[in-house]
Structure formats: C-alpha cells, structure tokens
Symmetry: C2
Subunit: 487 residues, 2 copies
C-alpha cells in the first residue's frame, strides 16, 4: 500500500479552490513538487497510472482514425525552429537550450522540443515524394518543454505530457476534414469517456497557435471560473510545408505543397480538469475508465470473523478481476473508516464493504464514491452491479459537469458586464463582437485589458447569429464570442 495518502485532507473546494487543488494533488499522492528544479515535478504511481490511461484513450481513438505512432528526438536544432517565422516568435522565449555535451560546446544549440512541428516537417519533406505517400498521419506521445515562469502541476509546467499529431494532405479540404475529426475525437474522449463538459471554439484570428491559420480548441471551466484549454487542433495551411518543402508533383507535373494539421491533446491538462471538475471535499473522483483501481474492497472484521471475512473478500476480488476489473483488497491494519477516507481521497469510484454479516449472507455492500449511495448486492451478481454503478457514476459526473458549465455562461452586453461576471462566477461571457478576424484584434485587446478575460472564440459548429453592436467598438456586431479568464 505504498499508494496511500500522505497527508490530512481537509479543505473546502468551494471556499478555496486554489488551496484545495494544491492540497489534493499532494494528499492523494499524485505528484511531489519538491524535486529540486522548478516546474519539473515527480509523478507518483497513482498519477502515472491515470496519465497512462489518458494517453491510451486518445491513442486508441487516433489509431481508429488512421494515425500511426512514431517517436521523434527530444532535441530540435535551432535552424529548424527558425524556419517558420510565427512559430519562432511564439516559442523562442520559452525554449530550453542544450548547449554542451560532456565538456564540449555543441556546434549549434539544440532546443528541447516545445512541440515538434519543426522536427516532423523536416522529415515529412523526405517522406513525401509523391501523392502516393499522402496522407501522412502520425502521432507522438511524449513530454514537451517550455521555460515557463509560473508553474502549477498539470496546468503549466516546464515539462508536461501531451500528444501531438502531425498530418500532411494533398488537398486543403482533406486537412479541414481532419481538423473536424480531431474535434470529434476530443469530444468523444473528453465528454463521452471522461464526463468533462466542453466548450468547443474556433479561436479568434489574433489567438491562433504560432504558425497556424486557424486554431480550434476545447475549453473546460474550472471550479474557480477560469478556463483550461485541454486540447486544440490547428489548420496549418501551407505555413510549414513551404519553408520545409513538404511537396510533391501532381499528375500534370506541377509542384504542390501539402496542407498540414496538428492536434494536441494536453494529457496533463486533461488530468487537471479531471481533478478539479470531478473532485469534492473528500478528494478526487475518477471515472472507472481511468481509475487505477476501480473497486476497493474494505473488509470489516473482529478477531473471530477475520478469516471468514478475508476469504470472502478474496472471493469478491476474484469475481471482479475475472471480468477484467482493477481491484484492490485493502487488508492493512488500519481501521475501516481510515481506509474509506484514504481511498475516497484517491478517487476510487466504487467501494465494497464486507463484514461478517455480508460474508454469511453471501452479499456485499457497494458504495459509490460520487453519491455515497449504498446498495447491498448478492455476490453472484456483483460484476453486473459494479458495471451498472460505474456507468451511473460516470453519468452523474458528466451531468454535474454539464450543469456547472451551463451555470457559468452569462450573456453580457457591455465590457463592464463582462468584468463583473468574470469577477463574480467566472466562466464564459457570451458577447457580440465586430469580428474575430484581424480587424477585431483591437477589440479583443481592449476586452482583455479591461476585464482580464480573453476572447475564446466562436462556438465551433454552432453558427450563432450576432445581433446589436460590438461590446468593444460599438460597430455592428457580426459574431458571437465567449470571453473567459484562462489558466
């Protein structure tokens, strides 16, 4: 039981989300922030296991969509990064540089990858020789490195885990279709699998990924009302294929550059959302799909019932393991109440309480982590009852998240109203604006200066109709956008 919690946990999530978050990640033994390099954290087994599940959920969906895994070097030469001007400008201040090997100065500095467009497209230039080599759809599961100044585990780190896909297509329409598929994948995994209610946006022109034509993003609202971008996908057009010469000859012998997209599910940030959105005052709540332990069995016995209860508890464990469940039987010497607290803190979605009475009657008591609802279940139907309870829990968490999101959307008709709403319950302010194109840049800036909120963009796929005037410049509004403060 090296997994066990390290600390008392007694913080009110609603009263002080920030303190709650910073306490729970340590109390539930997810990370240790005492590693002696700022912004680089140690992931303990419990979070390592959850993060692996998050990776595999996205990987499975990406593979179904025809992406294949690759593994690229962690270092990218400066000359590669210099090739795309916007990308360089966006990332230059954030790069870590490797400059020495042994006692030698390296001939040229190598960046630790902040993301890998400039590594991938150089190779795509070699791999794309003709239209028969297209499309290319590769992904990499890896950590990336950014020289950030403020860091917070799972939200902003100098080292953090993500997935990056990089694709190349012959036609713009195919690239656009890929971006749309990425948004479907994001919704399927994040909302469907993990119960995180999303806002999907087309980011404004002035807030795209460095080097992208358009950025599409998935935002989750955190309990303090700030939003967490957890996965974004980008239409890169030919911004990278031209400087890197990712090209082919078409049937008529004309040289064509590929259209590229990249999709970045932020595994770390998904973890942050899971912790923050689903957790409560007792700790974390994981849905069964990602929980390292789905069911914990807590035996309750006196000296004289010990053997019978433990034997029965093992029977229950085997019945569940046979059906593929991840089960822990906590037979340590701690009291049942202590165990309840510890495993609740760690977010295990279901608990079985097994005492002498249960053992004799051939029952178990099944307790849900989200509602604390107790059901007495005959051992014979336990796997089915666990399946049902797990589904119900996932559904309940998704419902709560949806309700929470809905309650955090405020229609605002002025910049003052935005500021007030963001100071209050936070979340998203729905406003009318002149444009999310470059001509709206000044309006976006003004809103940000006056409210500390950023224009997150237009709702993706919703085609909302604007009316009235732009909240910022007062000219006729053409677009409906959402403003929020962000992590």
């Amino acid at each position: 039981m090296a997994l066990m919690a390290q600390r008392e946990f007694n913080v009110d999530k609603n009263a002080s989300f920030s303190e709650w978050y910073n306490t729970v990640i340590y109390a539930a033994d997810l990370v240790d922030v005492r590693y002696n390099v700022q912004g680089f954290v140690v992931h303990k087994p419990w979070s390592t296991r959850v993060l692996r599940k998050l990776y595999s959920l996205f990987e499975a969906e990406l593979e179904k969509d025809g992406h294949e895994p690759v593994s690229f070097p962690v270092v990218i030469p400066k000359e590669n990064i210099d090739k795309e001007a916007g990308h360089l400008e966006g990332f230059a201040p954030e790069l870590f540089w490797v400059t020495k090997g042994g006692n030698n100065e390296l001939a040229r500095p190598l960046a630790l990858r902040p993301t890998s467009e400039t590594a991938f497209y150089q190779m795509y230039s070699l791999w794309v020789q003709g239209i028969g080599d297209l499309p290319l759809k590769y992904y990499q599961s890896c950590s990336v490195y950014r020289y950030e100044h403020e860091t917070l585990p799972f939200l902003r780190g100098r080292e953090f885990m993500f997935i990056e896909t990089h694709t190349a297509f012959a036609e713009r329409a195919e690239a656009a279709a890929q971006v749309a598929k990425d948004m479907v994948i994001a919704r399927r995994v994040l909302e469907g699998g993990l119960g995180l209610a999303l806002m999907q946006f087309v980011r404004p022109h002035w807030d795209t990924f460095p080097g992208a034509e358009n950025t599409y993003a998935n935002d989750v609202v955190m309990p303090d009302g700030k939003v967490n971008q957890i996965a974004s996908t980008h239409m890169l057009g030919q911004h990278f294929s031209k400087p890197f010469d990712v090209s082919f000859e078409d049937a008529s012998g004309e040289k064509k550059y590929t259209f590229n997209t990249c999709f970045g599910p932020g595994i770390w940030r998904v973890m942050a959302a899971l912790i923050a959105v689903h957790g409560d005052n007792k700790g974390l709540i994981f849905t069964p799909v990602v929980a390292p332990v789905q069911v914990v069995i807590v035996p309750i016995f006196k000296a004289e019932t010990r053997d019978a209860v433990l034997a029965y508890a093992v029977k229950a464990r085997l019945a569940l393991e046979k059906k593929g469940y991840r089960v822990a039987l906590d037979d340590s010497d701690k009291s049942p109440g202590f165990k309840y607290n510890e495993w609740e803190l760690k977010g295990v979605p279901m608990r079985l309480e097994i005492g002498g009475r249960e053992a004799e009657a051939g029952n178990v008591t099944l307790v849900r982590r989200d509602t604390h609802e107790k059901t007495v279940v005959p051992l014979a139907v336990l796997p089915r009852a666990v399946a049902r309870a797990g589904k119900a829990l996932a559904k309940e968490l998704a419902k709560r998240s949806k309700a929470e999101l809905k309650a955090r959307i405020t229609k605002c008709k002025s910049i003052d109203a935005i500021g007030k709403a963001l100071d209050g319950k936070g979340g998203f302010c729905r406003v009318n604006i002149c444009s999310t194109g470059s001509e709206g840049t000044a309006c976006g800036k003004l809103i940000q200066e006056r409210t500390a909120g950023k224009v997150r963009g237009m709702l993706y796929g919703a085609d909302e109709k604007a009316s009235g005037k732009c909240v910022a410049c007062g000219k006729p509004a053409n677009e409906v956008v959402y403003v929020a403060r962000q992590y």
Copy 2:
C-alpha cells in the same frame, strides 16, 4: 499501407552482418537516421509499435514483482550528479547540459538524465521516513541521453529507450534477493518470451556500473560474434543512500541507511538483438508476442474472382481478430509476390495466402516466416492453427538462438587462443583467471589490450570450478570467466 518498405533489400547477413543490419533497419522502415542531429533517430511506426510491446512485456513482469510506475523529470541538476563520486566519474563525459532558458543563462546547468539514480534517491530521501515506507520499488519507462561519439540505431545512441527500476530496502539480503529476481525477470522476458539465448554474468569488479558494488548482466551474442549487453541489474549497497541520506530509524532508534538496487532493461538493445539474432536474408522475424502484425493476409485473385476472394479474406481476418490477433489484410494493388517480400522483410511471423481455390474449399494456406513451411488449414480451425504455428515459430527461433550461442563458446587456455577465437567466430571464450576481484584488474586489462575482448564475468548462478592457471598472470586460477568483444 504507409508501413511499407522503402528500399530493395538484398544483403547477405552471413557475409556482411554490419551492412545487413544497417540496411534492414532502414528497408524494414524501423528508423530514419536522416534527422539532422547526430545519434538522435526518428522511430517509424513499425519500430515504435515493437518498442511499445517490449516496454509492456517488462512492465508487466515488474508490476507482478511489486514495482510501481513513476515518471521523473528529464533534467537532473549538476549538484545531484556530483554526489556519488563513482557515478559522476562514469557519467560526466557523457552528459548533455541544458544551460539556457529563453534568453537567460540558467543559474545552474541541468543534465539530461543519463540514468536517474541521482534524481530518484534525492526523492527517496524524502519518501523514506520510517521502516514502514520500505521497501520502495519504482520503475520508469523513458528515454535517456548520453553524449556518445559512435552511434548505431538500437545499439548506441545519444537518445535511447530503456526502463530503470530503483529500489530501497531495509536489509542487504532483501536487496540481494531483488537483484536475483531481476535476473529471473530478464531471463523470463528475453529467453522465454523473445527467444533470445542469454549468457547471464556477474561482472568483474573492475567493470561494474558507476556507483555499484556488483553488476549482473545479460549478454546476447550478435551474428558478427560481438556481444550486446541488453539488461543489467546492480547491487548499489549504500553507495547512494549515504550521500542522499535515504535512511530511517530502526526499532532501537539507530539511524540506518537503505540498501538499493537498480535494474535497466535496455529496450533499445533488446530491439537490436531481436533484429540481429532472429533476422535472415529476407529481413526481420518477429515472434508473435511483439509483432505489430502477427498475421498478414494476402489475397490472390483475377478480376472475376476478386469479390469472392476479398470477402473470404475478410472472413479470415475477422475470425482471427475475434481471438485477439493483430491482423493486416493487404488488399493493395501490388502483386502477391511483391507483398510476400515486403511483409517478410518487416518480420510478420505468419502469412495467409487466400486464392479462389482456398475460398471455394473453405481453406487458407498458412505460411510460417521462419521455415516458409506451408499448411492448408480449414477456416474453421484457423485461430487454433495460427496459435500453434506462432508457438512453433517462437520455439524454432529460440532453438536457433540457443544453438548459435552454444556454437560461439570456445574454451581457451591462453591469451593468444582468445585473440584467435575472437578474430574467428567471436562469441565467448571460456577461460580460467586468477580473480574477478580488484586484484584481477591488471589481468582483465591485459586480456583486453591483447585481444580487444573484455572479461564479461563469471556465469551467474553456475558456480563453475576453475582449474589450472590464470590465462593472464599464470598464477593459480580461482574463477572461470568469459571473454568477448562487445558493442
């Protein structure tokens, strides 16, 4: 079918192993070495998938043995590495240094981890507060970084994949037992699962891991007669627990330092062994347990039988997928013969040939990659036939590897005989030596100077009895050791 081979492959493995190896890794589309940083390679999907399987084979065994996964930072501050003198001396010339973030010089340089003892033990010092916190058994699956001068994919890289376990125990005997278990795990995965015949050694005192008391290693002989160390485990004693203060108070209140071990399955080097040992003049041969595709189906048809054959091929695919097999149906426009070559090159262990005759009779023709043996199998029993053929193939590869190893062991009575044997068939020279303790250091050196072979150590667990004189100094021999040239 982006997986397909890139190049003609026509090199005789026996005539020129080095050329064969350097050609096959590219022809079978495992890596691309054209990335513009020396020693950093791009792993294509085919190798990425195999490497993932190799990771998961070891991870499963480690978890069964009670190890838990963690994820540590890629950077280690210089002050940590400086703490253990032998470790520092061993690794200092090989370190990459991160010295800049953005435009700032970092206050102190950060090494890219060459291995993570000095990261882990610092945290273990915080995590071990009492004997109740022991044992600690963690592992990390990651890439590590070494500033090597000669590089070769999967054998020696500036970035390569491995697993590192780090354990802490209260008692020396427990640490020793862990080392013994590591050797069992290595044999189980490498010899049992992957069919790689091993020599397990206790390394001589002058050739231990930097910071270790004793090193135990698993060597595989490569087709050119040089050996490849693919997994080693180390008794660290208290070399790290003392400088890092990994300690606890025992029952009597006395301060005790932990005993530590670390085990490093070299995932990259296992890959090199799989390629080199099992491959033949047609390309790679993967055992079913690691093959990304276990069965490829090649349909053979004329225009008029096309639909029937393809429908039947899909039926065969589904029958196998239902049983959990990884199957590819190659319905591309290439000729069957071309497809056979391509998939053989990539090492797919079994092929199904399905033509009009097979479709009509309800049969398939099953072809093994290792022996090219063909069997006609009724579709109804296909999964069973595939299971049987896969097992037979794995057994055959293991048998070949064992025979190859056995043929490469030569008893030698003099240094000249060692040199001659190593110049000839290579492999291992079994010799008598005065000692593998520090007093034998000069003899080890002499052997190496005269033969370019290194003393790999005493056979682990064999307790072989020495006789006669030390081949180097002529004093009475006390130990039997094996000498080999190494990668």
